[in-house]
């Protein structure tokens, strides 16, 4: 059983990370804008957005059912829960039990996604339905990869650089791009294109619900970044130093993501299958390597 002080520690971390999460999004956007020779909004813009949304009134479609109202809360709760589980997994050594925790985290994430997709369908607007179907299409490819990559981590352990974990990390990086609606798969920055995925799904939301959903996506992003940091910066988690270098690790990952977003073009939806199948094979390769102990 968990000692009680560990529970307090993890709870504190969760709260910190949720507060910290919008900053990461703002940071990535800032880097992208600076590299494009633009000034761009401040790093704190996501906070302002959330604040603005909270103070606004909510418009709800006459056709919306309880799902539409409940979905933001469920999504936010599930993502917080997942973050909690991920941090718990980080505490212990990587044994079988901890693997179960990580798998549980992904299932809980899946629950949130399910309700968001339902909510997209709920108001029967054409954009929402399209967004939901696309989101589910992409995640049906992305989720298995994440599972395989997590398996690899559990088999090899995150104590040093290994070929298996690095390959799995590469796969998870591609999954992260898909799950956090980054450029080759989706585009966060626009509501105009017909190709949008995540933004189409939440198009009907406004006000407080939208604030909750945005906060949830920022938090989901941080979950994946934490995962990535295990793969690419092994054995740098424990003790006081872990606290100190954590922002650095997240900053490096953000920078990498921003660079990827700037250097590749958005793919057609059906090319995403190729993209993710590549990722899947890298993950599979990683699992073989892990099985062989390298």
């Amino acid at each position: 059983m968990m000692p009680i002080n560990n529970l307090i520690l993890v709870t504190g971390q969760v709260i910190l990370l949720v507060l910290f999460a919008p900053l990461v999004s703002g940071f990535i956007r800032k880097i992208k804008n600076n590299l494009r020779m633009r000034k761009g909004p401040s790093v704190l813009q996501p906070y302002y957005n959330v604040q603005k949304l909270i103070s606004k009134d909510e418009v709800i479609s006459r056709h919306a059912s309880w799902i539409f109202l409940a979905a933001p809360v469920i999504v936010f709760a599930s993502i917080i829960c997942a973050l909690f589980l991920v941090l718990l997994a980080q505490l212990g050594p990587f044994g079988n039990n901890d693997m179960a925790i990580l798998i549980a985290a992904f299932f809980v994430l899946g629950l949130g996604r399910f309700f968001l997709a339902l909510a997209g369908l709920d108001t029967a607007s054409s954009f929402g339905g399209m967004g939901s179907s696309r989101e589910m299409f992409i995640s049906s490819f992305a989720e298995p990869i994440a599972f395989v990559a997590v398996f690899v981590l559990c088999m090899s352990g995150a104590d040093t650089f290994r070929i298996s974990t690095l390959l799995a990390g590469f796969a998870i990086l591609m999954v992260t791009l898909a799950e956090t609606s980054r450029v080759p798969v989706d585009n966060q920055e626009t509501h105009l294109e017909l190709t949008m995925v995540h933004e189409a799904m939440v198009l009907e939301y406004s006000g407080r619900s939208l604030a909750l959903i945005e906060l949830a996506s920022h938090t989901k992003q941080i979950i994946f970044f934490i995962l990535l940091s295990w793969y690419f910066f092994p054995s740098m988690t424990g003790g006081v130093w872990g606290w100190v270098i954590f922002p650095g690790k997240i900053a490096i990952i953000s920078l990498a993501i921003a660079l990827i977003e700037l250097s590749v073009a958005k793919m057609r939806l059906f090319r995403v299958v190729d993209f993710l199948s590549f990722s899947f094979f890298i993950a599979l390769l990683a699992s073989i390597a892990a099985g062989l102990g390298i």
Partner: protein
Amino acid sequence: MMLSIILSGFLVATFLLVVAKRITALIRSFRIQAIFLSLYALYMGLSQRHLEMFIVCGLIFVLKAIVIPFVLLRIIRRINVEEDLGLLVNPQLSLIIALGFTYLSYLFAHNAMALTDPVESAALAVSITVVCLGFFIMVSRMKAVAQIIGLLVMENGIFLAASAISGGMPFFVEIAFFFDIFVFVIIIEVFVYKVNRLFTHIDTSKMKSLKG
């Protein structure tokens, strides 16, 4: 530790080569692979403290990451070839095959060669994989440029094998190999132009005038 990073990068670059559908993507992935190879040479130079390895690293970078991609891009620009690679095997199936090759190479490196050091054995496995995949690219991509790249990928794999298992060939031999690759690329460029002029395409699966 660094070695693991370089090897994984090298392997991923090779997989990118296998899934590439377009010629420019192929050349770009080849360049990435070459950069990782030169990083590998740099690492070997640092760990063995050999001045020669640094020169080799520089040569790899200049020749394989700059000159050869430049020549290949020039071929594409001059003959205005369409981007399609002429895949006989689609990327997904190619990946499955590549996965099989990787596993077999590992078995080969592990059992047949019986190397004790796991990283050394992994390096050998990666290099054999790269040789096999280079060969695979040659037989399953019908465009002449893809075949050239396949051959160069095989050569990259062999270079990796040489430095992985025996700490590099004698220096002048390495230099001679670079010369050889350089001459090969220049001569093959001439032949690609000739093929393109006579056949008006560079699809080797459509060359069928000689039979029996």
